[in-house]
Symmetry: C2
Subunit: 214 residues, 2 copies
């Protein structure tokens, strides 16, 4: 068995959706930096990175998010609250911006990337293209990535879909920046008293979730 | 900086959306087992695990998926093709099955889990609950997890959203099992000649994708 995978699987077994965070424990800056670098490196459709990650430590803002989070205390107690946002509406200039970034990163001319740009333009302008869902999907890849990164770093996390997105957008003033909240994840360190920490992880046996077509 | 995170970030930098797989290189069984264990451990909403991962090595089936994949050769050339599926339609008995699994894993009575069951029933029966999108979201967490696991194991991958889902469902006979394909990911080993392998990774600087609310 691959040693990295062993280590990774042990981390995934260690993690759980943390219900009670220790409000006194903060994630050290170097660890936070490492987690954000993971987020930045997340894969996305066409590589477009149509996202903004809000890293919220401000106690007042978090207090204002408590009611829209249906009083889930992780929002205020965790070391940091990460809110995964995407553009509220997609705009073809976002492709242009990305093509420019690609050209400068790879020391290529923008012109040489014209076929790539056209390909992305065509795909996203197709009337049946599910633009908003497609942007949301990418944020869930980032969430999966963050959960893994946290587990490897010994940082607790709690993915959260259950919150009022319109109210998050309002409290965070996202509309002005053409952003909207999709999913959230408080991160930090569990309270030793969190009874959920010691419960056995519930997963179906492999036979139920995997089928081999050989 | 956390050593595990350093190692993880190096793996994320190594990975790229592999265009050309070496058809002669197969993932060893122990590594494949490790990757599937990662998938099995993926976090999901309420822990419900509403998914089925198809691990396809059969060459004929894969040849039949080539056209529905718009001729992306990774589908036939990679060591394995993973197709991420979810129930075509959600059924409240899936909550019951999960509650039974929880009871047996944790050595609890099913009755003691009644409030948890009721909570899940209520949430999923809300007329505004986006059942299909919600199930899809979880598969993208699994995809994010798989991409990371592969990178750590030195296995190449190529997340694929661009395929005909109805045709995948048809070729794979998914309807009979109340399943539908959501996203796919060929995994294996890159061809040394894949020119995409050596291109610089294009990511926006941290300032563009992260905002701190302190």
């Amino acid at each position: 068995m691959n040693k990295n995978l062993d280590n990774y699987n042990a981390a995934l077994r260690w993690r759980y959706a943390t219900k009670s965070f220790d409000p006194s424990k903060k994630i050290p800056q170097d660890v936070l930096d490492g987690l954000l670098e993971c987020l930045r490196l997340t894969a996305s459709s066409f590589g477009l990175q149509l996202w903004k990650f809000l890293i919220i430590s401000n106690p007042e803002i978090r207090a204002n998010l408590l009611a829209p989070s249906y009083s889930q205390s992780q929002v205020v107690d965790a070391s940091h609250l990460i809110v995964f946002c995407r553009p509220k509406s997609f705009d073809p200039t976002m492709i242009e911006t990305f093509v420019n970034q690609t050209a400068s990163t790879r020391n290529q001319s923008v012109e040489s990337l014209a076929p790539f740009k056209e390909y992305m333009d065509k795909a996203t302008q197709n009337p049946s293209f599910p633009t908003e869902k497609w942007m949301d999907n990418q944020l869930y890849i980032a969430l999966g990535n963050l959960l893994s990164a946290c587990a490897l770093a010994g940082v607790d996390s709690c993915p959260m879909e259950g919150f009022s997105k319109p109210k998050y957008d309002e409290v965070l003033g996202l509309e002005n920046d053409n952003l909207t909240a999709v999913v959230a994840c408080p991160i930090g360190y569990r309270l030793e008293s969190d009874k959920y920490a010691s419960l056995a992880k519930v997963r179906y046996p492999l036979e139920k979730v995997v089928s081999f077509l050989k």
